[in-house]
Amino acid sequence: MIELQGVSRIFPNGVRALNNISLSINPGDFVFLVGPSGAGKSTFLRMLFREDVPTEGKILIDGKDITTMPENRVPYLRRNLGIVLQDFQLLKRRTVAENVAFGLRVIGASATVISNRVQEALEQVGLSHKRRMFPTELSGGEQQRVCIARAIVNNPLILITDEPTGNLDPMISQEIMQLFLEINSRGTTIVMATHNHNLVNKLRKRVLALVDGQIVKDEACGTYAYE
Protein backbone atom coordinates (compact mmCIF):
# COMPACT_ATOMS: atom_id res chain seq x y z
CA MET A 1 0.00 0.00 0.00
CA ILE A 2 2.73 2.48 1.03
CA GLU A 3 6.33 1.97 0.02
CA LEU A 4 9.30 4.23 0.65
CA GLN A 5 12.46 3.48 -1.31
CA GLY A 6 15.63 5.27 -0.14
CA VAL A 7 13.75 8.44 0.76
CA SER A 8 15.79 11.44 1.92
CA ARG A 9 14.74 15.01 2.42
CA ILE A 10 17.37 17.69 2.66
CA PHE A 11 16.13 21.25 3.22
CA PRO A 12 17.74 24.20 1.43
CA ASN A 13 19.51 25.16 4.69
CA GLY A 14 21.29 21.78 4.66
CA VAL A 15 19.18 20.11 7.38
CA ARG A 16 18.68 16.43 6.58
CA ALA A 17 15.12 15.82 7.79
CA LEU A 18 14.90 12.26 6.46
CA ASN A 19 17.85 10.05 5.68
CA ASN A 20 17.61 7.12 3.27
CA ILE A 21 14.39 5.60 4.57
CA SER A 22 13.08 2.40 3.04
CA LEU A 23 10.02 0.63 4.37
CA SER A 24 6.62 -0.64 3.37
CA ILE A 25 3.23 -0.48 5.03
CA ASN A 26 0.61 -3.08 4.14
CA PRO A 27 -3.10 -2.46 3.56
CA GLY A 28 -5.03 -2.38 6.82
CA ASP A 29 -1.90 -1.74 8.95
CA PHE A 30 -2.00 0.55 11.95
CA VAL A 31 1.41 2.21 12.27
CA PHE A 32 2.63 4.53 15.00
CA LEU A 33 5.39 6.92 14.06
CA VAL A 34 7.28 7.92 17.19
CA GLY A 35 10.39 9.88 17.96
CA PRO A 36 11.54 13.11 19.55
CA SER A 37 10.49 16.50 18.25
CA GLY A 38 12.50 17.39 15.17
CA ALA A 39 13.09 13.75 14.28
CA GLY A 40 11.33 14.14 10.92
CA LYS A 41 7.90 12.67 11.73
CA SER A 42 5.92 15.55 10.24
CA THR A 43 8.14 15.62 7.14
CA PHE A 44 7.54 11.89 6.76
CA LEU A 45 3.77 12.37 6.91
CA ARG A 46 3.81 15.44 4.63
CA MET A 47 5.56 13.34 2.00
CA LEU A 48 2.74 10.79 2.12
CA PHE A 49 0.13 13.33 1.08
CA ARG A 50 2.54 15.09 -1.31
CA GLU A 51 2.71 18.29 0.65
CA ASP A 52 6.45 17.85 0.28
CA VAL A 53 8.63 15.77 -2.05
CA PRO A 54 11.79 13.80 -1.26
CA THR A 55 15.15 15.10 -2.39
CA GLU A 56 16.14 11.51 -3.11
CA GLY A 57 14.23 8.23 -3.43
CA LYS A 58 10.62 7.57 -4.19
CA ILE A 59 7.31 6.92 -2.50
CA LEU A 60 4.76 4.52 -3.92
CA ILE A 61 1.14 4.57 -2.83
CA ASP A 62 -1.00 1.77 -4.15
CA GLY A 63 1.77 1.09 -6.69
CA LYS A 64 1.91 4.66 -8.03
CA ASP A 65 5.02 6.79 -7.64
CA ILE A 66 3.74 9.99 -6.02
CA THR A 67 7.10 11.74 -6.04
CA THR A 68 7.00 12.25 -9.81
CA MET A 69 3.25 12.83 -9.90
CA PRO A 70 2.37 16.10 -11.70
CA GLU A 71 1.03 18.85 -9.44
CA ASN A 72 -2.40 18.73 -11.07
CA ARG A 73 -2.84 15.04 -10.10
CA VAL A 74 -2.14 15.63 -6.39
CA PRO A 75 -5.80 16.52 -5.55
CA TYR A 76 -6.88 13.12 -6.93
CA LEU A 77 -4.31 11.38 -4.71
CA ARG A 78 -5.61 13.26 -1.67
CA ARG A 79 -9.18 12.19 -2.38
CA ASN A 80 -8.08 8.66 -1.45
CA LEU A 81 -6.43 9.84 1.75
CA GLY A 82 -7.86 11.09 5.02
CA ILE A 83 -5.75 13.68 6.82
CA VAL A 84 -6.14 14.66 10.47
CA LEU A 85 -3.74 17.17 11.98
CA GLN A 86 -3.09 18.27 15.55
CA ASP A 87 -4.63 21.72 15.28
CA PHE A 88 -8.15 20.83 14.38
CA GLN A 89 -8.36 22.94 11.20
CA LEU A 90 -12.11 23.35 11.17
CA LEU A 91 -13.94 26.21 9.52
CA LYS A 92 -15.35 28.15 12.42
CA ARG A 93 -18.13 29.80 10.47
CA ARG A 94 -19.49 26.52 9.19
CA THR A 95 -21.57 24.00 11.06
CA VAL A 96 -20.29 20.53 11.95
CA ALA A 97 -22.20 19.02 9.00
CA GLU A 98 -20.89 21.67 6.59
CA ASN A 99 -17.32 21.04 7.75
CA VAL A 100 -17.67 17.32 7.15
CA ALA A 101 -19.41 17.92 3.82
CA PHE A 102 -16.50 20.04 2.61
CA GLY A 103 -14.53 16.96 1.57
CA LEU A 104 -17.38 15.87 -0.66
CA ARG A 105 -18.23 19.29 -2.05
CA VAL A 106 -14.77 19.75 -3.50
CA ILE A 107 -15.12 16.57 -5.54
CA GLY A 108 -18.48 17.75 -6.89
CA ALA A 109 -20.66 15.13 -5.11
CA SER A 110 -24.43 15.55 -5.43
CA ALA A 111 -26.51 16.92 -2.56
CA THR A 112 -28.05 13.51 -1.82
CA VAL A 113 -24.68 11.76 -1.68
CA ILE A 114 -23.32 14.52 0.56
CA SER A 115 -26.26 14.33 2.91
CA ASN A 116 -26.10 10.52 3.26
CA ARG A 117 -22.33 10.28 3.66
CA VAL A 118 -22.13 13.14 6.14
CA GLN A 119 -24.79 11.47 8.26
CA GLU A 120 -22.87 8.15 8.15
CA ALA A 121 -19.54 9.80 9.04
CA LEU A 122 -21.07 11.77 11.92
CA GLU A 123 -22.73 8.64 13.25
CA GLN A 124 -19.38 6.84 13.17
CA VAL A 125 -17.79 9.52 15.31
CA GLY A 126 -20.89 9.84 17.50
CA LEU A 127 -21.70 13.44 16.64
CA SER A 128 -24.80 13.19 14.46
CA HIS A 129 -26.82 14.97 17.16
CA LYS A 130 -24.48 17.99 16.96
CA ARG A 131 -24.51 18.37 13.18
CA ARG A 132 -25.97 21.89 13.29
CA MET A 133 -23.58 23.24 15.90
CA PHE A 134 -20.53 25.36 15.14
CA PRO A 135 -16.98 24.18 16.01
CA THR A 136 -16.63 26.86 18.69
CA GLU A 137 -19.58 25.31 20.51
CA LEU A 138 -17.78 21.96 20.76
CA SER A 139 -15.10 20.63 23.12
CA GLY A 140 -11.57 19.89 21.84
CA GLY A 141 -12.32 16.17 21.63
CA GLU A 142 -15.50 16.80 19.71
CA GLN A 143 -13.70 19.12 17.30
CA GLN A 144 -11.13 16.40 16.64
CA ARG A 145 -13.98 13.96 16.01
CA VAL A 146 -15.38 16.35 13.40
CA CYS A 147 -11.95 16.37 11.71
CA ILE A 148 -11.93 12.59 11.74
CA ALA A 149 -15.45 12.53 10.28
CA ARG A 150 -14.28 14.86 7.52
CA ALA A 151 -11.26 12.64 6.88
CA ILE A 152 -13.30 9.43 6.60
CA VAL A 153 -16.30 10.82 4.73
CA ASN A 154 -14.67 9.83 1.41
CA ASN A 155 -13.94 6.28 2.63
CA PRO A 156 -10.17 6.79 2.24
CA LEU A 157 -7.71 3.93 1.74
CA ILE A 158 -5.21 5.54 4.08
CA LEU A 159 -5.65 7.83 7.07
CA ILE A 160 -2.64 10.00 7.87
CA THR A 161 -2.71 11.73 11.20
CA ASP A 162 -0.20 13.95 12.96
CA GLU A 163 -0.52 14.15 16.76
CA PRO A 164 -4.33 13.82 16.76
CA THR A 165 -4.40 13.65 20.55
CA GLY A 166 -1.73 16.27 21.12
CA ASN A 167 -4.15 18.89 22.40
CA LEU A 168 -6.47 16.54 24.28
CA ASP A 169 -6.61 15.19 27.82
CA PRO A 170 -5.87 11.45 28.42
CA MET A 171 -9.53 10.47 28.72
CA ILE A 172 -10.56 12.13 25.47
CA SER A 173 -7.38 10.86 23.80
CA GLN A 174 -8.45 7.32 24.57
CA GLU A 175 -11.86 7.93 23.04
CA ILE A 176 -10.27 9.34 19.89
CA MET A 177 -7.87 6.41 19.69
CA GLN A 178 -10.82 4.01 20.03
CA LEU A 179 -12.34 5.77 17.03
CA PHE A 180 -9.16 5.23 14.99
CA LEU A 181 -9.16 1.56 15.93
CA GLU A 182 -12.72 1.22 14.70
CA ILE A 183 -11.82 2.91 11.42
CA ASN A 184 -8.79 0.63 11.09
CA SER A 185 -10.92 -2.43 11.76
CA ARG A 186 -12.94 -1.55 8.64
CA GLY A 187 -9.77 -1.90 6.52
CA THR A 188 -8.37 1.64 6.44
CA THR A 189 -4.59 1.85 6.77
CA ILE A 190 -3.59 4.30 9.50
CA VAL A 191 -0.27 6.07 9.87
CA MET A 192 -0.14 8.14 13.05
CA ALA A 193 2.63 10.32 14.42
CA THR A 194 2.35 10.61 18.17
CA HIS A 195 4.14 11.42 21.41
CA ASN A 196 1.57 9.58 23.50
CA HIS A 197 3.56 6.82 25.26
CA ASN A 198 0.60 5.30 27.06
CA LEU A 199 -1.53 4.80 23.99
CA VAL A 200 1.32 3.33 21.94
CA ASN A 201 2.31 0.98 24.73
CA LYS A 202 -1.26 -0.05 25.39
CA LEU A 203 -2.33 -0.74 21.81
CA ARG A 204 0.75 -2.70 20.73
CA LYS A 205 0.58 -1.87 17.05
CA ARG A 206 3.47 -1.57 14.61
CA VAL A 207 5.86 1.14 15.77
CA LEU A 208 8.32 3.03 13.58
CA ALA A 209 10.78 5.10 15.61
CA LEU A 210 12.40 7.99 13.83
CA VAL A 211 15.48 9.72 15.26
CA ASP A 212 17.47 12.35 13.37
CA GLY A 213 15.72 11.43 10.15
CA GLN A 214 16.50 7.74 10.37
CA ILE A 215 14.38 4.72 11.27
CA VAL A 216 15.95 3.35 14.43
CA LYS A 217 13.21 0.86 15.19
CA ASP A 218 10.54 -0.92 13.17
CA GLU A 219 8.64 -3.27 15.45
CA ALA A 220 5.38 -5.14 14.99
CA CYS A 221 3.37 -5.01 18.28
CA GLY A 222 5.95 -2.49 19.48
CA THR A 223 6.27 -0.06 22.34
CA TYR A 224 7.08 3.61 22.47
CA ALA A 225 10.70 3.30 23.66
CA TYR A 226 13.24 4.13 20.97
CA GLU A 227 16.42 5.02 22.81
Binding site: A17, L85, F102, V106
Partner: protein, 304 residues
Protein backbone atom coordinates in the same frame (compact mmCIF):
# COMPACT_ATOMS: atom_id res chain seq x y z
CA UNK B 1 -17.61 22.02 -14.55
CA UNK B 2 -20.53 20.19 -12.95
CA UNK B 3 -23.74 21.87 -11.89
CA UNK B 4 -22.95 20.98 -8.26
CA UNK B 5 -19.60 22.79 -8.57
CA UNK B 6 -21.15 25.85 -10.15
CA UNK B 7 -23.77 25.90 -7.42
CA UNK B 8 -21.03 25.66 -4.80
CA UNK B 9 -19.02 28.49 -6.41
CA UNK B 10 -22.08 30.73 -6.52
CA UNK B 11 -23.07 30.14 -2.92
CA UNK B 12 -19.47 30.48 -1.73
CA UNK B 13 -19.04 33.70 -3.69
CA UNK B 14 -22.29 35.12 -2.27
CA UNK B 15 -21.27 34.19 1.29
CA UNK B 16 -17.77 35.61 0.87
CA UNK B 17 -19.02 38.85 -0.65
CA UNK B 18 -21.28 39.26 2.36
CA UNK B 19 -18.55 38.36 4.87
CA UNK B 20 -15.92 40.63 3.42
CA UNK B 21 -18.34 43.41 2.49
CA UNK B 22 -15.76 46.18 2.88
CA UNK B 23 -13.24 44.47 0.59
CA UNK B 24 -15.96 43.81 -1.96
CA UNK B 25 -17.04 47.43 -1.77
CA UNK B 26 -13.44 48.62 -2.36
CA UNK B 27 -12.98 46.33 -5.35
CA UNK B 28 -16.35 47.17 -6.88
CA UNK B 29 -15.94 50.91 -6.45
CA UNK B 30 -12.35 50.80 -7.79
CA UNK B 31 -13.60 49.13 -10.94
CA UNK B 32 -16.54 51.56 -11.07
CA UNK B 33 -14.40 54.70 -10.68
CA UNK B 34 -11.82 53.50 -13.21
CA UNK B 35 -14.56 52.76 -15.71
CA UNK B 36 -16.24 56.15 -15.18
CA UNK B 37 -12.91 57.83 -15.96
CA UNK B 38 -12.21 55.58 -18.92
CA UNK B 39 -15.74 56.08 -20.20
CA UNK B 40 -15.54 59.87 -19.78
CA UNK B 41 -12.41 60.02 -21.91
CA UNK B 42 -13.83 57.73 -24.52
CA UNK B 43 -17.05 59.78 -24.62
CA UNK B 44 -15.08 63.03 -25.02
CA UNK B 45 -13.10 61.53 -27.87
CA UNK B 46 -16.18 60.14 -29.57
CA UNK B 47 -17.92 63.50 -29.30
CA UNK B 48 -14.91 65.28 -30.71
CA UNK B 49 -14.91 62.84 -33.60
CA UNK B 50 -18.60 63.42 -34.15
CA UNK B 51 -18.06 67.18 -34.05
CA UNK B 52 -15.31 66.87 -36.62
CA UNK B 53 -17.48 64.77 -38.89
CA UNK B 54 -20.27 67.31 -38.58
CA UNK B 55 -17.87 70.09 -39.49
CA UNK B 56 -16.73 68.12 -42.49
CA UNK B 57 -20.25 67.50 -43.64
CA UNK B 58 -21.09 71.18 -43.42
CA UNK B 59 -17.98 72.17 -45.33
CA UNK B 60 -18.16 74.37 -48.36
CA UNK B 61 -15.54 73.59 -50.99
CA UNK B 62 -14.67 76.38 -53.39
CA UNK B 63 -12.97 75.32 -56.59
CA UNK B 64 -11.15 78.05 -58.60
CA UNK B 65 -11.20 77.26 -62.28
CA UNK B 66 -8.39 78.07 -64.69
CA UNK B 67 -8.55 81.51 -66.37
CA UNK B 68 -9.13 80.07 -69.82
CA UNK B 69 -12.22 78.08 -68.74
CA UNK B 70 -15.36 79.62 -70.17
CA UNK B 71 -18.65 80.01 -68.32
CA UNK B 72 -20.23 77.36 -70.54
CA UNK B 73 -17.44 74.86 -69.72
CA UNK B 74 -17.79 75.76 -66.03
CA UNK B 75 -21.51 74.99 -66.17
CA UNK B 76 -20.85 71.68 -67.94
CA UNK B 77 -18.31 70.80 -65.23
CA UNK B 78 -20.77 71.77 -62.49
CA UNK B 79 -23.42 69.48 -64.02
CA UNK B 80 -20.93 66.60 -64.12
CA UNK B 81 -19.81 67.18 -60.51
CA UNK B 82 -23.39 67.35 -59.22
CA UNK B 83 -23.65 63.62 -59.98
CA UNK B 84 -20.94 62.88 -57.38
CA UNK B 85 -22.24 61.21 -54.19
CA UNK B 86 -20.55 63.67 -51.83
CA UNK B 87 -22.00 66.86 -53.38
CA UNK B 88 -25.36 68.27 -52.45
CA UNK B 89 -25.40 71.27 -54.78
CA UNK B 90 -23.07 73.47 -56.82
CA UNK B 91 -23.25 77.16 -57.51
CA UNK B 92 -21.31 78.60 -60.44
CA UNK B 93 -19.90 82.04 -59.58
CA UNK B 94 -18.80 84.19 -62.52
CA UNK B 95 -15.83 86.55 -62.14
CA UNK B 96 -18.26 89.51 -62.18
CA UNK B 97 -20.35 88.05 -59.36
CA UNK B 98 -17.21 87.29 -57.44
CA UNK B 99 -16.00 90.85 -57.86
CA UNK B 100 -19.34 92.23 -56.76
CA UNK B 101 -19.30 90.04 -53.67
CA UNK B 102 -15.70 90.95 -52.94
CA UNK B 103 -16.38 94.64 -53.12
CA UNK B 104 -19.86 94.57 -51.64
CA UNK B 105 -19.03 97.41 -49.24
CA UNK B 106 -20.14 100.85 -50.63
CA UNK B 107 -16.58 102.14 -50.22
CA UNK B 108 -15.17 99.14 -52.09
CA UNK B 109 -17.69 99.76 -54.90
CA UNK B 110 -15.73 102.89 -55.78
CA UNK B 111 -12.52 100.81 -55.93
CA UNK B 112 -14.30 98.45 -58.23
CA UNK B 113 -15.26 101.28 -60.51
CA UNK B 114 -11.75 102.70 -60.48
CA UNK B 115 -9.60 99.53 -60.85
CA UNK B 116 -11.50 96.63 -62.20
CA UNK B 117 -13.52 96.40 -65.39
CA UNK B 118 -15.19 93.43 -67.06
CA UNK B 119 -12.19 93.06 -69.31
CA UNK B 120 -9.40 93.03 -66.73
CA UNK B 121 -11.19 91.25 -63.85
CA UNK B 122 -8.45 88.99 -62.34
CA UNK B 123 -10.92 86.79 -60.42
CA UNK B 124 -11.47 83.29 -61.84
CA UNK B 125 -14.80 81.54 -62.36
CA UNK B 126 -15.47 79.51 -59.21
CA UNK B 127 -17.64 76.56 -58.23
CA UNK B 128 -19.09 76.62 -54.71
CA UNK B 129 -19.87 73.08 -53.65
CA UNK B 130 -21.94 72.15 -50.59
CA UNK B 131 -20.98 68.74 -49.26
CA UNK B 132 -23.71 66.25 -48.39
CA UNK B 133 -24.23 65.59 -44.67
CA UNK B 134 -22.22 62.63 -43.38
CA UNK B 135 -19.84 62.59 -46.37
CA UNK B 136 -16.09 62.37 -45.98
CA UNK B 137 -14.20 65.32 -47.39
CA UNK B 138 -10.95 63.61 -48.37
CA UNK B 139 -12.35 61.36 -51.15
CA UNK B 140 -14.10 64.36 -52.72
CA UNK B 141 -10.92 66.43 -52.66
CA UNK B 142 -9.06 63.59 -54.34
CA UNK B 143 -11.61 63.53 -57.16
CA UNK B 144 -11.48 67.31 -57.61
CA UNK B 145 -7.68 67.23 -57.88
CA UNK B 146 -8.02 65.09 -60.99
CA UNK B 147 -10.24 67.65 -62.76
CA UNK B 148 -8.10 69.45 -65.40
CA UNK B 149 -10.32 72.59 -65.43
CA UNK B 150 -9.81 73.18 -61.70
CA UNK B 151 -6.82 75.31 -60.82
CA UNK B 152 -7.00 74.95 -57.05
CA UNK B 153 -9.56 74.83 -54.23
CA UNK B 154 -10.06 75.86 -50.62
CA UNK B 155 -12.07 74.32 -47.75
CA UNK B 156 -10.72 75.86 -44.52
CA UNK B 157 -7.72 73.51 -44.51
CA UNK B 158 -5.98 75.02 -41.49
CA UNK B 159 -8.97 74.67 -39.15
CA UNK B 160 -9.53 71.22 -40.48
CA UNK B 161 -6.00 70.10 -39.87
CA UNK B 162 -6.14 71.49 -36.33
CA UNK B 163 -9.31 69.57 -35.57
CA UNK B 164 -7.91 66.38 -37.01
CA UNK B 165 -4.74 66.80 -34.96
CA UNK B 166 -6.81 67.38 -31.85
CA UNK B 167 -8.94 64.34 -32.56
CA UNK B 168 -5.85 62.19 -33.08
CA UNK B 169 -4.31 63.50 -29.86
CA UNK B 170 -7.52 62.75 -27.98
CA UNK B 171 -7.62 59.17 -29.27
CA UNK B 172 -4.00 58.55 -28.35
CA UNK B 173 -4.36 60.11 -24.88
CA UNK B 174 -7.66 58.26 -24.32
CA UNK B 175 -6.00 54.99 -25.19
CA UNK B 176 -3.09 55.75 -22.86
CA UNK B 177 -5.48 56.73 -20.06
CA UNK B 178 -7.62 53.63 -20.59
CA UNK B 179 -4.52 51.41 -20.40
CA UNK B 180 -3.13 53.24 -17.33
CA UNK B 181 -6.44 53.23 -15.48
CA UNK B 182 -6.94 49.60 -16.42
CA UNK B 183 -3.57 48.68 -14.97
CA UNK B 184 -4.14 50.78 -11.85
CA UNK B 185 -7.51 49.21 -11.14
CA UNK B 186 -6.12 45.76 -11.91
CA UNK B 187 -3.43 46.41 -9.31
CA UNK B 188 -6.00 47.45 -6.69
CA UNK B 189 -8.28 44.50 -7.48
CA UNK B 190 -5.22 42.22 -7.30
CA UNK B 191 -4.32 43.54 -3.85
CA UNK B 192 -7.81 43.40 -2.39
CA UNK B 193 -8.28 39.83 -3.63
CA UNK B 194 -4.87 39.00 -2.20
CA UNK B 195 -6.01 40.33 1.18
CA UNK B 196 -9.22 38.30 1.13
CA UNK B 197 -7.11 35.33 0.11
CA UNK B 198 -5.06 35.70 3.29
CA UNK B 199 -8.25 36.09 5.30
CA UNK B 200 -9.49 32.82 3.84
CA UNK B 201 -6.19 30.98 3.91
CA UNK B 202 -7.44 28.39 6.40
CA UNK B 203 -10.36 27.54 4.17
CA UNK B 204 -8.11 27.17 1.13
CA UNK B 205 -5.71 24.91 3.05
CA UNK B 206 -8.58 22.66 4.08
CA UNK B 207 -9.93 22.61 0.53
CA UNK B 208 -6.53 21.50 -0.75
CA UNK B 209 -6.18 18.92 2.03
CA UNK B 210 -9.42 17.23 1.10
CA UNK B 211 -8.51 17.09 -2.58
CA UNK B 212 -9.73 20.28 -4.22
CA UNK B 213 -8.06 21.10 -7.53
CA UNK B 214 -6.51 24.54 -8.01
CA UNK B 215 -9.34 25.49 -10.33
CA UNK B 216 -11.89 24.46 -7.73
CA UNK B 217 -10.20 26.71 -5.17
CA UNK B 218 -10.12 29.55 -7.69
CA UNK B 219 -13.78 29.07 -8.66
CA UNK B 220 -15.49 31.16 -5.94
CA UNK B 221 -12.90 33.95 -6.31
CA UNK B 222 -13.45 34.09 -10.05
CA UNK B 223 -17.22 34.24 -9.56
CA UNK B 224 -16.68 37.05 -7.02
CA UNK B 225 -14.46 38.90 -9.50
CA UNK B 226 -17.13 38.47 -12.15
CA UNK B 227 -19.86 39.84 -9.87
CA UNK B 228 -17.72 42.76 -8.67
CA UNK B 229 -16.74 43.63 -12.24
CA UNK B 230 -20.34 43.41 -13.38
CA UNK B 231 -21.71 45.57 -10.56
CA UNK B 232 -18.82 48.05 -10.87
CA UNK B 233 -19.32 48.50 -14.60
CA UNK B 234 -23.10 48.72 -14.25
CA UNK B 235 -22.72 51.53 -11.70
CA UNK B 236 -20.13 53.24 -13.91
CA UNK B 237 -22.50 53.16 -16.90
CA UNK B 238 -25.29 54.60 -14.74
CA UNK B 239 -23.11 57.45 -13.44
CA UNK B 240 -21.59 58.16 -16.84
CA UNK B 241 -24.79 58.41 -18.82
CA UNK B 242 -26.82 60.22 -16.22
CA UNK B 243 -24.15 62.94 -16.16
CA UNK B 244 -23.49 62.81 -19.92
CA UNK B 245 -26.58 64.79 -21.00
CA UNK B 246 -25.96 67.33 -18.27
CA UNK B 247 -22.30 67.90 -19.25
CA UNK B 248 -23.21 68.05 -22.93
CA UNK B 249 -25.82 70.72 -22.19
CA UNK B 250 -23.28 72.76 -20.21
CA UNK B 251 -20.73 72.47 -23.02
CA UNK B 252 -23.27 73.68 -25.56
CA UNK B 253 -23.90 76.73 -23.35
CA UNK B 254 -20.17 77.46 -23.02
CA UNK B 255 -19.19 76.85 -26.65
CA UNK B 256 -21.86 78.35 -28.94
CA UNK B 257 -20.97 76.31 -32.04
CA UNK B 258 -20.65 73.07 -30.04
CA UNK B 259 -23.40 70.81 -31.29
CA UNK B 260 -21.76 67.39 -31.24
CA UNK B 261 -23.64 64.42 -29.92
CA UNK B 262 -22.97 60.77 -30.58
CA UNK B 263 -25.99 58.62 -31.35
CA UNK B 264 -27.75 56.02 -29.22
CA UNK B 265 -26.08 53.18 -31.11
CA UNK B 266 -22.62 54.43 -30.20
CA UNK B 267 -23.64 54.99 -26.59
CA UNK B 268 -24.92 51.44 -26.45
CA UNK B 269 -21.68 50.10 -27.94
CA UNK B 270 -19.64 52.07 -25.42
CA UNK B 271 -21.77 50.71 -22.55
CA UNK B 272 -21.22 47.17 -23.81
CA UNK B 273 -17.47 47.80 -24.00
CA UNK B 274 -17.37 49.23 -20.46
CA UNK B 275 -19.42 46.30 -19.20
CA UNK B 276 -16.99 43.82 -20.75
CA UNK B 277 -14.01 45.79 -19.45
CA UNK B 278 -15.44 45.66 -15.91
CA UNK B 279 -15.94 41.92 -16.04
CA UNK B 280 -12.48 41.34 -17.55
CA UNK B 281 -10.93 43.55 -14.84
CA UNK B 282 -12.75 41.69 -12.03
CA UNK B 283 -11.91 38.22 -13.31
CA UNK B 284 -8.32 38.94 -14.35
CA UNK B 285 -7.60 40.67 -11.01
CA UNK B 286 -8.81 37.54 -9.21
CA UNK B 287 -6.93 35.14 -11.46
CA UNK B 288 -3.75 37.15 -11.14
CA UNK B 289 -3.88 36.98 -7.32
CA UNK B 290 -4.54 33.26 -7.42
CA UNK B 291 -1.78 32.27 -9.81
CA UNK B 292 0.44 30.81 -7.05
CA UNK B 293 -2.35 29.08 -5.17
CA UNK B 294 -0.35 25.82 -4.80
CA UNK B 295 2.49 27.50 -2.95
CA UNK B 296 0.07 29.59 -0.93
CA UNK B 297 -1.99 26.68 0.36
CA UNK B 298 0.57 24.54 2.18
CA UNK B 299 -1.09 23.06 5.24
CA UNK B 300 2.01 23.02 7.40
CA UNK B 301 5.11 25.17 7.37
CA UNK B 302 8.16 23.56 5.83
CA UNK B 303 10.39 22.07 8.50
CA UNK B 304 11.13 18.89 10.39
Amino acid sequence: MSLANLNFFMSEAATNLRRSAMMSFITTSTIGIALVMMGAFLLATMNMESFLLQMQSEALVTAYLKQEVSITDAKTLSLRLTSLDEIENIQVVTPEQAARELFSNPDDQQLLQIGITAEDNPLPTTLRMKVKAGSQLQPLLAKLKNEPMIDNFSYGEELFRQFQGLSHLLWVSSLAIVVLLGLASLFIVYNTVRLTLFMRREEIIIMKLVGATNWFVRGPFVVEGFIQGMVGSFLAILVLFSSYRFVLGKLAELIPFFAADIGFEQLFKLSAKLFMMGIVLGISGSLLSLRDISRFSKSTPEGV
